[in-house]
Symmetry: C2
Subunit: 132 residues, 2 copies
């Protein structure tokens, strides 16, 4: 993969991440599923694996209904390998009045689907200590 292709992949995914954060903040539940491949999976803590479009839509609906108003992602590391890219990022979750509710990290496996980068496997966990 050329340096140019690497830069293009990185920029394209950075734009998608910006768009992802904006879509979440707007409360656009069905829009969230559009960031994922057709057979994508989210691997959330304390839940089973979430598979496919309908389940992903419900996952974000639940998250919004729980009072999580904003998701902020920051890429730590990014490596495109052909039609796949591996991203390590950290995240923060904010509630009503910009209260910080949680922070942690994620690994996202991206796939190019019909020329567009989509999230294919999306795993995260909190860095906060276990609540007693």
């Amino acid at each position: 993969m050329s340096a140019l292709e690497t830069t293009e992949s990185h920029e394209s995914i950075a734009r998608t991440n910006e768009n992802f954060m904006r879509t979440y903040k707007a409360g656009d539940r069905p829009g969230m599923a559009g960031f994922y491949t057709k057979d994508a999976q989210i691997l959330p803590p304390n839940e089973n694996i979430v598979t496919g479009e309908e389940a992903i839509r419900d996952f974000y609906k639940d998250m919004m209904d729980m009072g999580i108003k904003e998701v902020v992602l920051r890429t730590i590391e990014f490596e495109p390998i052909g039609e796949t890219a591996v991203e390590v990022a950290d995240y923060k979750l904010y509630g009503e009045g910009s209260a910080e509710l949680d922070y942690g990290k994620c690994i996202i496996i991206w796939k190019k689907e019909h020329g567009e980068w989509k999230m294919h496997r999306d795993m995260y966990n909190s860095s906060l200590p276990v609540q007693g």
Copy 2:
């Protein structure tokens, strides 16, 4: 990547996983770090990212000291892409008398380092509901 190379990578990583489980069960704390690349990271739940050999050794020491006697990994999905491989697996943790303590899933990013597959990014989270 040829079908033969894919099969070889898969078999090689399957053997490494077997060895990993055996090494853990034997309580071989320093041995555990040998499964990781030089600049590897573990991304555990409810903790910050664990980076490098010494921190990884301490991580496994703590895990063994906590009474986790056995780790069982089962590959769900495996995709080698050149010198990188993405594995999705599930795990179970057992304590004294084979009591099941936890189960969940992981994403492991493998890298070929000096001809050997090593874990480079290793993230997991529990599928058990949050303990109240």
